[in-house]
């Protein structure tokens, strides 16, 4: 019989320690302070899903305020007032609190939700498995990475409850605003970020070292699954782009607590008089250092997602992905170029011709590899035999959603059209299309796809499809109208949803005010956002219920997949592989002409 049955243990007794490792490390060492990459991956996964949910709840409160400005939030409003006091007085999300929630929604979603889920959770769980390694190279550092992440996350959470509340300077935390906002939440934010940065630093060292050092025999670079490639490049981005933000955060911290003026210029006026600071700093310096990270960071949000989509599409179209090599080279190119495009977020800070020409050129150049990746994924479908399960549905939806998000990056990338679109809801729509129906859909796909590996049970398909349908419809209803709002001139980060920009009788003669219809769209969007929340209920039920009630998998390889993670017992034991593994072919040998079955696992010696 085949390789996969040779390594297959019945999932039941495949629990842990089947290798030579016989002493029982006890509950704490197994599930809490574990150094096993799979446990850490799951820890990351669960905590980041919770954070994602938090980010979502913050956003719902904001959406209420946008649609019905200054009206108390039903049910939740009084609760907020009870917990947070004055800023939520009357159960209304006041401007300060709105800014807080906005900043924290962005921060949580990016740094505590999507990156930890896509990179740390999926990456930790899968990369060692996919390359045939027993664990990460530095298991204890891996554990430290998770705990550092959790500490960072807790600091962020705690900051909601301190007097003055959480950070209010946007997720971008621009100085001098960030320094002048009177809440300590801003300081908490910086310190939290330092922990998160440390965490991803430790993680990325581990990922890179693992991929370089621990590939199983035969696992050449061009035999690595696309997902692993994406994670590898992501790790490099994190390794080299995050430290400058760490430096920037230290400087901002100094500004905040030691009275320095790194980002504060001479001649600043606060509270009606010349600020008592030494001055001489530069607000633009923060922006450069911040975006030096934050642009590469957006590729950190998307590359793991692309990796997941690649895996799921190859598996469910039952054929190799189109242009594996160009995918790999494109991902490398994206990673490389992503470091030199950052200032496209700063076109309107007074940039001169030469430098903005440079940055818009690189911005256009970086869109080319993205186009190649998307094209390859689209073309992979051609000639396939496509199975529409929940994982595949989310992956397929990812393609046009990312397409829309990516394409709308182009008018932002030309500085001349950015004059009109900068900091409008067009930008909000652009990036949410890439991160929400983009990355988040891919992450959902990943959850559905690898769930059986981690738990031994499949998730319910019907609930999955309901989840998909609801998410797909409402995501689009939320974000598509935002393009129109943005083009009409609606600015982002407005705590009243633009109401003060609306035409009224008193301002009828003023041109450029927002038409009532533009503002009214807010209501529709917010309703869709609440319904999006409702659509997540099947997922949450499914996620927890399937652990106990889900359909048990009958083989270790329920999707008939080729990559190595499916060639281990389910769930994989400590040490992962029960026998030494050797790789004979590329990652996506599906439907090979002449082969007995429609998939050839990477570790199966012969084609029979």
């Amino acid at each position: 019989m085949s390789q996969s049955t040779k390594t297959a243990h019945a999932p039941a007794h495949g629990a842990h320690h089947s290798g030579g490792d016989h002493h029982d490390p006890g509950f704490w060492r197994t599930y809490v302070f574990s150094t096993d990459h799979k446990v850490i991956g799951i820890q990351y996964g669960v905590s980041s899903l919770i954070f994602l949910f938090m980010g979502f709840l913050l956003m719902l409160a904001m959406r209420w305020q946008i649609a019905w400005p200054n009206q108390p939030i039903p049910v939740v409003g009084p609760l907020l007032e009870a917990v947070l006091g004055q800023p939520a007085s009357g159960g209304v999300l006041g401007a300060d609190l709105y800014n807080s929630f906005g900043a924290m929604h962005g921060t949580i979603m990016v740094f505590l939700g999507v990156v930890p889920l896509g990179f740390a959770a999926f990456g930790n769980y899968l990369v060692p498995l996919q390359i045939g390694a027993p664990d990460m190279t530095f298991p204890r550092i891996n554990m430290a990475s998770f705990w550092s992440f959790l500490v960072g996350g807790l600091i962020m959470m705690v900051s909601f409850f301190i007097p003055g509340g959480a950070a209010q300077g946007g997720w971008t935390s621009y100085s001098p605003l960030a320094t002048s906002i009177p809440t300590d939440g801003q300081t908490y934010w910086i310190i939290g970020m330092v922990f998160l940065i440390t965490s991803s630093l430790l993680g990325s060292v581990n990922f890179i070292a693992t991929v370089i050092q621990l590939r199983a025999p035969g696992m050449g670079w061009m035999r690595m699954p696309f997902f692993t490639w994406a994670q590898f490049v992501t790790a490099f981005i994190l390794l080299l782009a995050f430290p400058p933000l760490e430096a920037a955060a230290v400087l901002q911290l100094m500004d905040k607590v030691a009275g320095t003026s790194f980002y504060l210029p001479t001649g600043l006026i606060t509270g009606g008089k010349l600020a008592d600071i030494s001055g001489g700093g530069s607000p633009l310096l923060w922006q450069h250092l911040f975006w030096f990270l934050a642009h590469p960071e957006v590729y950190v949000l998307i590359l793991p997602a692309m990796g997941i989509v690649g895996e799921v599409i190859a598996n469910n179209s039952r054929k190799p992905i189109f242009g594996y090599r160009s995918l790999v080279y494109s991902v490398l190119a994206v990673g490389f170029i992503s470091f030199i495009v950052w200032a496209h977020h700063m076109y309107l800070t007074g940039m001169g011709t030469k430098i903005s020409t440079f940055f818009q050129t690189t911005t256009m150049i970086i869109s080319v590899p993205s186009v190649i990746i998307l094209t390859c994924l689209f073309l992979s479908l051609w000639g396939g035999s496509i199975r529409f399960n929940s994982a595949m549905l989310f992956s397929l939806a990812f393609l046009p959603m990312f397409g829309i998000g990516g394409l709308t990056g182009l008018p932002l990338g030309f500085n001349f059209s950015d004059i009109h679109l900068h900091d409008s809801y067009y930008v909000i729509a652009h990036f949410h299309y890439v991160v929400a129906p983009g990355s988040i859909f891919a992450l959902f796909a990943g959850v559905y796809y690898w769930y059986p590996k981690a738990t031994g049970r499949k998730m319910n398909e019907l609930l999955g499809k309901i989840h998909f349908a609801g998410s797909f419809v409402f995501m689009n209803l939320i974000f598509f109208p935002m393009f129109a709002q943005g083009i009409a001139g609606m600015s982002r980060r407005m705590s009243d949803g633009g109401a003060s920009y609306m035409v009224s009788d008193a301002t009828a003669d003023v041109v450029g005010r927002l038409a009532k219809s533009v503002i009214d769209a807010n209501v529709g969007i917010s309703v869709a956002a609440f319904l999006l929340g409702v659509s997540q209920i099947p997922f949450i039920i499914n996620f927890f219920m399937s652990m106990f009630r889900g359909e048990k998998v009958t083989s270790d390889n329920p999707w008939d997949a080729t990559t190595l993670e499916w060639q281990t017992p389910t769930p994989p034991p400590h040490g992962n592989f029960t026998e030494s593994i050797k790789v004979y072919r590329g990652p996506y040998e599906y439907s090979v002409p002449g082969a007995a079955r429609d998939f050839l696992p990477q570790n199966q010696p012969s084609r029979a």
Partner: protein, 280 residues
């Protein structure tokens, strides 16, 4: 379960895990300090005339500290070479010098910090400026209504600038230190007893004093944290961790090598910090 290549190098990469790991980590450190160096350049280029001090720090002291770090760097690598040659006792001795150097570096650095924190610029209400080291603060300090009372007077050993010096020199409070240089004539150093009620602003040379001191304290502070961290690791390997030499000498040697690589990096950062902060 064992993770491969923890001790022996992998064939195709020629590296053992920890060595790759430390180089990756150092790569990120390069970016960390790189960002700070970039900030330094931008702040300096953007600073207006008279505010960037030249020669504010004590060059001989800085030079000594540089030499101390260089010494520790050579001892680290010699210590490792001794281990490679199986001379554990020699390694112990040499590495002790490294640790001593690390301690010395921190002492000298704290002395320099202390010197800056006790350096005061006092602007008087009549516009005169007195700049120098704190001798003492007379009286005050008691708590009234939970607020600390200011001293009655402050005694400074330093120089005095006439009221128009700043206005004549530069627009905004430039560094007094530069005025002294620019004015050419040597001012007499002596002790000044200034009643607190005469002062408009009293500020020491902490990071808040100007952008130069801000970046000076930030960069050297971060560097000092690296020195301390490195010394702790090296010290641990040297002391309690040395038991591993018996059980797994190869791995122990690797540890020494890896910690040494980190140490050299810290030295390397200083090699740049020294000229840009002390000399230029």
């Amino acid at each position: 379960m064992d993770i491969p290549y923890t001790v022996m190098p992998r064939r195709d990469t020629g590296l053992y895990n920890a060595k790759l790991g430390i180089w990756l980590f150092l790569a990120s450190e390069v970016m960390l300090f790189g960002a700070l160096f970039s900030s330094y350049i931008l702040l300096r280029v953007g600073s207006y005339p008279g505010v960037w001090p030249h020669g504010l720090l004590n060059v001989p002291v800085g030079t000594v500290n540089t030499l101390v770090l260089i010494c520790s760097s050579v001892t680290v690598v010699l210590g490792w070479a001794a281990l490679k040659a199986n001379q554990f006792a020699k390694y112990r001795k040499i590495q002790a010098i490294t640790l001593a150097c690390a301690g010395m570096f921190c002492c000298i650095k704290s002395y320099e910090y202390y010197d800056k924190f006790t350096h005061y610029e006092v602007i008087l209400k009549d516009g005169r400026v007195i700049d120098g080291h704190l001798v003492e603060k007379v009286g005050g300090g008691q708590l009234v209504d939970g607020r600390r009372q200011p001293p009655e007077a402050i005694v400074i050993h330093g120089v005095e600038f006439p009221a128009d010096a700043k206005a004549a020199g530069m627009a905004k409070v430039p560094l007094i230190h530069n005025l002294e240089k620019a004015s050419g004539h040597h001012l007499e150093h002596k002790e000044f007893r200034i009643p607190w009620s005469d002062t408009k602003k009293v500020q020491n040379y902490g990071p808040w004093h100007n952008t130069y001191l801000a970046i000076y304290f930030t960069m050297t502070g971060l560097h000092a944290l690296h020195v301390i961290g490195g010394a702790l690791v090296i010290g641990w390997i040297w002391g309690p961790g040395a038991a591993m030499w018996k059980s797994d000498p190869e791995r122990y040697t690797n540890r020494v090598e890896v910690s040494g690589l980190f140490w050299h990096f810290v030295d390397l950062v200083w090699i740049f910090l020294f000229p840009i902060l002390y000399l230029l």
